[in-house]
Symmetry: D2
Subunit: 251 residues, 4 copies
């Protein structure tokens, strides 16, 4: 029987500001990536999100970011490899400790936003992140963009990895995501998203924007938690996986 | 043979701003309290300070604070017990994880600045801090002001405690520190400081400002790391302890 | 003909987080208090809110706060009078400059949250705020809680003041707001809110929780912009004022 | 008689952290660039620095930055032109208002650190900064790297500009500064620095690292305020200018 992990970014509220319907979404995914305080998620949000995730029995991951609250970690910052190592170490350490305080084990790490995108394309950034994860706990699972430096650098350090694919993004013939600046970057309908996800899981291939069919390693599928239709979409994709006898579970 | 712990606050630099002569001071103390990022200490400062402390073989503690970088954690903030639990949990978790990444164990927790002072006088605040420490690791040592709620609340939770005394502060007949707003709050000469420290360690008593001699539990002595004469004073007090056959060691 | 100002706190979004339906609410009020970046409102939110307010032709005020983004400025911080002067000066200066860059004049200043509440009860805090406002522009209007030090200290400095009353809060016999910790602090129905507002504007009196009728100076009425029913309530109160021939206008 | 402006970055302390010997340095320069709170300078530091500058009779400028306190504004951040416009508008507005509160006029704007460097090379960034300055006050003087987009974009908007040269940096044959990553980027001796400054002011030319002599517009000379020898160097360069009958004055 085929199986796949469904992951979702969570804990993205901050202080008086609420974002996402975390508790509800946790009913549809198998793992969550929790913001660590640098782009979202204050200490109270983190603690509550960890408690909810444990109660809902989903695997808990850390979602470290560039230090940019106002930009939500979506703006690239030119930081040295050492600085990147240090901020990832701090954030993952904090999340791990909060998990353990409530009796859970930290399951994985997935970089957030601009840090994820930079590291996917830049070897040194990917390496610095992977080294920080390994320093914390060499058994942590490392989520990263399929076919990117995130995966290859983590593998070089003997970390276990999970190649991530996206339900609502299109792919180029070279295996990279179509940049958001291009008109066909996003898959607009739930139907097409579901079709792409099933194709990726069943065949480990995806049809690129130029109609070529390319290899893709689809071990964990990212579901977006924000937006008006996030919950509806999560239900739809979950049901489609069940209908296709694909088991939804974390590693 | 008598023994005592000498502790010092460290890791109080931030970004481009340097504070304290940490590496040098570590030659004279037996334990350090490292800022966790909320009043001082960014992720790089924390990592470097932890590495230095390990190399210098001093016991490493977490020094959590109110979230107030501009005020250096010295301004009281009205936070709920839950909020205090959450910020202490997060900060101690981060420090603990960074220590473990470099092969060391976190040794103790000592609240910083206004959080320390509030908790010394307020049962609920002290309890919230102690609960967070216990949630992280029930074996962590808890440093707090001798005779205060910090100690009594931690003891109620069965945490091991270290009662802290100050080398350069005078005491009231009720065992509390003379408030800094009063003219005789500070001990101005190294000679008198040393005399008070020796009295406290040897007799577990201190002479209050009204000349009464009162009981005080002196398990760890705080040495201040800032100020022009910090290093000189640390040397002086260390030598005085050695000359009096008092062993300087952490618990 | 009677007239009154209706004011609302706005510009309380931050980065990726949205709060309030500012543009819609501006159709119902005559003045707005815009967050200055210390409890909410980044530079982009401030600029957009100022532009919208100018387009909607409402009077623009600055809404300075304690520096506490995570606590939304709702937690009291122990700051010196000089520190309070400095943070109010900075925030009001920023708002004033942004207004002028778009061709508008800053109309008033109203302290936010815990800063407002502290200053209402503490003479030194109120004085420090009023001095900062006066230093920026002695012609700025100063909004403060009716019957409080906010008004009396501003008047001592010859600032023009607007005494603020609340539509959804009850009053004590001594003229203060019933603390939120008490069960009868909030007026729960729109009907009762409207009745209290009309009573205050028409008679400059209000019925306290102990049924006594007391004097109150009602020059500007605060409408809350958050919460599910904010927009509905703003419409209701505006219509009630119009129906009672009370003109809604800023000073 | 020749004249030139000597400028220095100031107000770079933050909270408990002190940087620079501002008051002393103000005796040697004719204009200062004051940090606005985004990379350094809290509200109290800003107010004190403005007061000192007024007392010392030096021209006051705003020194806006990327929002990166931990990185001291030295790390490039990928922000949109609108975001850059907004953060410059906010920071310059704040500084301008604080100046006016103490009876002074804001004299100029000079971008800081990574924002300065990005804008020197990127037309859109330079334009966004210049537009923000113009929106605040079209009469503000704009300091920027000689020969760069900072100057050309400001001129397109009809802002008055001051082309900045550096006393301690070498130049390439194309008029740009030698990147700090190259071994010959810095001029290490005071003697050579003084010689270069005198050459630039007297001849409006500079000898590049390849020995070519190129045109350079030297209207304001930047003196660095940090480092152990900053004060000594400021004295030396000031004396050299006086000895060469070059008047030191702001525009």
């Amino acid at each position: 029987m085929l199986s796949v992990d469904l992951n979702c970014d969570m804990g993205e509220s901050f202080g008086a500001w609420t974002m996402g319907r975390d508790a509800e979404l946790m009913d549809y995914v198998s793992s969550v990536n929790i913001a660590c305080g640098f782009h979202a998620g204050d200490a109270s949000v983190i603690r509550k999100t960890v408690e909810t995730a444990i109660a809902k029995n989903v695997a808990v991951g850390a979602h470290p970011s560039f230090p940019d609250l106002q930009g939500f970690g979506r703006r690239e910052m030119k930081m040295s490899a050492t600085e990147i190592f240090d901020i990832v170490l701090y954030q993952v350490a904090a999340l791990k400790g909060v998990c353990e305080a409530f009796g859970a084990k930290l399951h994985h790490v997935k970089p957030h936003g601009a840090l994820y995108n930079c590291a996917a394309k830049d070897e040194a950034t990917a390496k610095a992140i992977a080294e920080a994860v390994k320093a914390i706990d060499a058994k942590l699972l490392f989520y990263g963009l399929a076919n990117s430096f995130l995966i290859s650098e983590a593998e070089k350090l003997n970390l276990k990895t999970a190649s991530e694919v996206f339900a609502d993004r299109t792919y180029q013939a070279d295996g990279t995501l179509t940049p958001r600046t291009q008109p066909d970057a996003l898959i607009e309908t739930a139907e097409k998203s579901v079709a792409q996800v099933l194709q990726m899981i069943k065949t480990q291939k995806v049809t690129a924007t130029n109609s070529e069919t390319i290899q893709i390693c689809a071990e964990t599928v990212c579901i977006h938690g924000d937006g008006a239709h996030a919950l509806e979409f999560a239900k739809t994709i979950r049901q489609a996986l069940i209908d296709n006898q694909i088991k939804i579970q974390s590693f």
